[in-house]
């Protein structure tokens, strides 16, 4: 079974994001980069399928050289091989374009399943997976929390507003992983040592015969408005406090 997992490297969710000087990118200084947390579910699920049915797990990433670290983490978790499409300018690119690019690298791998995280925690788009499915002519089963393989048929569960959709299709398929699919393993220390010796192939856009044709570009990034400070209700007695609170809720907050 050929199991491909696409990985995006994103700022750690604990990182304080600052808008860059140009107003349309983020300030990259002091950012800690990690594998997109939803992609970890994809890696874990692929490794479990491999353990059960055999095959190879190949992880694919696109972006600057630093993305190697996210790919190495996946290799350390147990993936067999990694492909990096290296390009300094890819971070923030049109996700539909990134999907087309990934599809070029994935197609020759003859995948049975292509995994994605259901979205990346940086731009929250969740589009690259659809773009890959489209480019490769595969069905896409998105935001899944469970999968069962039976021969060349796959059945998945997808939570929808408190209910569960059960969907099935034939392989090959593109899946996007939601929290709850599994509990990703750590990249163990021996795994990290082994990962050093696993193949990591680097390709450029030119190698894949692809040129940038982004249809959208980021015009501006606006930080969330600063939160207004809280207000302490004044008053000597409980009665007075209650009156002042009610007044503030009615006249200032206008909620009652």
């Amino acid at each position: 079974m050929n199991l491909v997992v696409c990985i995006k490297q994103v700022p750690d969710t604990e990182t304080q994001i600052k808008v860059g000087a140009d107003g349309k990118s983020i300030n990259m200084d002091d950012i800690k980069w990690v594998m997109n947390p939803y992609d970890e579910f994809g890696v874990e699920e692929a490794l479990r399928i491999k353990a059960d049915k055999g095959g190879d797990v190949i992880v694919v990433g696109a972006g600057p050289k630093r993305v190697t670290e996210a790919l190495r983490t996946a290799l350390a978790m147990g993936a067999d091989k990694a492909i990096l499409i290296e390009d300094e300018g890819l971070y923030g690119a049109d996700p539909i374009f990134v999907g087309k690019l990934l599809a070029k690298a994935i197609e020759p791998l003859n995948p049975d399943i292509v995994f994605f995280g259901q979205r990346a925690v940086d731009d929250d788009c969740g589009l690259a997976s659809s773009s890959v499915a489209e480019a490769l002519g595969m069905p896409q089963l998105a935001v899944i929390v469970k999968q069962e393989l039976d021969g060349d048929t796959i059945k998945v569960q997808r939570p929808v507003e408190g209910q569960t959709n059960v969907l099935s299709t034939k392989l090959p398929v593109c899946l996007t992983a939601q929290k709850g699919l599994n509990e990703p393993r750590y990249a163990s220390l021996p795994g990290i040592m082994k990962a050093k010796k696993k193949p990591l192939e680097v390709k450029t856009l030119a190698d894949l015969g692809v040129e940038r044709d982004d249809k959208i570009e980021i015009a501006a990034i606006n930080p969330p408005p600063e939160r207004a400070p809280g207000k302490v209700i004044q008053g000597e007695t409980p009665e007075e406090l209650a009156v002042n609170l009610a007044k503030a809720l009615r006249e200032e907050a206008k909620v009652i």
């Binding site: 990690v34 190697t68 670290e69 190495r72 983490t73 350390a76 750590y186 990249a187 163990s188 220390l189 021996p190 795994g191 990290i192 040592m193 990962a195 050093k196």
Partner: protein, 385 residues
């Protein structure tokens, strides 16, 4: 000078960071109350490879250099110190005698089991009459009918009660002592005449156990002299080399704990309001935070430099290692004291981790050579011709 951390070491630090945050820190206070690490956590530490940091790859370990080992300990020490201590004797004093001076057969038998964490090892040098003056040990070993008989009592032995195997130092020639009269033995817990004595009640380091080991005509096979027959009488050198090697990692542990205390103190100072303002706005508090941060920064530079030097030279950095252990552990003591002060009464409460770090860090200035002994080593190295 390039201080970039190699990629594989950075990944290891990241794994430890997550493990600490997700699995260890949430149970830190519980472990403190129970005085015991849950079995599942020890198993998780085995799976992560934490027992084999410094054991060579050919024996199933990771074969990390000094920098790698220090980085792992620094990160692992940002939570309850007992977790670090649980793996520390396998990586450090318990196994290193065998790594440094063991025979091929000894390495083959013990190192893979220690690297996987299947077995735990401890280091038994200290005795009631032999602390800083380690050469004054009273435990004896006598060769009787082809096997060694050990008699005596060790105390303050970390992980002694959990261990399957102990590196034990005993007198084989009373007249020579450190100069050819002390021998290092590998003692398995199943050997007749070996037993665990009192488990000490300590100021801190709960979850980690320190105990007496008793040798009553304990029978040790002749081939269990570390390094074999040729090394009879050479045990004191093995002990000193082992301790030299451990100094940097002890410093790294103190550094990691100090870093965590700084982070806790900064967070607390920002949210604790007195006189209508966060206490972080008071200059007296700011000065403490600034002093903590500066001292941590200095400590980290010297630690990484000495570790780098050791990896580069491939041999001991005796003077530097003692300087680093001295400075980092004393620094962590000062930082812990300031952290309690920044936290006020909350810093004195058992519900909050600062109090625990304060007690646990106190030990780092005492074991594996007190601060005074480090100063003696530094001066000796500096003044020798």
């Amino acid at each position: 000078m390039d201080y970039t951390i190699p990629e594989n070491l950075a990944l290891m630090v990241e794994t430890i960071r997550r493990f600490v945050k997700k699995d260890l820190d949430p149970i830190s206070q519980q472990v403190e109350k129970d005085d015991r690490i849950p079995d599942g956590i020890v198993e998780a530490m085995r799976e992560l490879g934490l027992f084999g940091l410094s054991i060579p790859e050919e024996f199933g370990g990771l074969g990390l250099g000094a920098l790698g080992e220090c980085l792992v300990y620094e990160e692992l020490s940002k939570t309850n110190a007992c977790f670090r201590t649980r793996v520390a004797t396998n990586n450090g004093i318990g196994s290193q005698g065998i790594v440094l001076d063991g025979t091929p057969e000894q390495k083959e038998r013990y190192l893979p089991r220690l690297a996987s964490g299947e077995w735990t090892a401890c280091f038994a040098l200290t005795e009631p009459e032999a602390g800083s003056d380690a050469a004054n040990i009273q435990t004896t070993a006598e060769l009787v009918e082809g096997r060694w008989l050990l008699n005596g009592r060790k105390h303050f032995i970390t992980n002694g009660s959990e261990s399957h195997v102990a590196t034990v130092f005993a007198l084989t020639d009373k007249s020579k002592r450190a100069k050819g009269g002390i021998t290092a033995f590998i003692v398995e817990k199943t050997y007749p005449g070996f037993s665990v004595g009192t488990i000490e009640s300590k100021m801190g380091m709960r979850g980690s156990h320190t105990c007496e080991l008793i040798f009553d005509n304990c029978e040790v096979p002749a081939e269990n002299v570390i390094g074999g027959q040729a090394k009879v009488g050479q045990g004191f050198k093995t002990a000193m080399k082992t301790l030299d090697k451990g100094r940097l990692t002890m410093a790294a542990s103190a550094l990691g704990a100090a870093q965590r205390l700084l982070e806790l103190s900064v967070d607390y100072a920002k949210q604790r309001v007195q006189f209508g303002r966060p206490i972080a706005e008071f200059q007296a508090v700011q000065f403490m935070l600034a002093d903590m941060a500066s001292q941590i920064y200095a400590a980290r530079q010297m630690l990484y430099h000495a570790a780098w030097l050791r990896d580069k030279r491939g041999s001991a950095v005796i003077k530097e290692a003692s300087m680093v252990k001295l400075f980092c552990t004393e620094m962590a003591g000062r930082v812990a004291d300031m952290a309690v002060q920044v936290h006020g009464g909350m810093g004195y409460m058992k519900d909050y981790p600062v109090e625990r770090f304060y007690r646990d860090l106190r030990l780092t200035r005492i074991y594996e050579g007190t601060s005074e002994i480090q100063r003696l080593v530094i001066a000796r190295e500096m003044l020798k011709a």
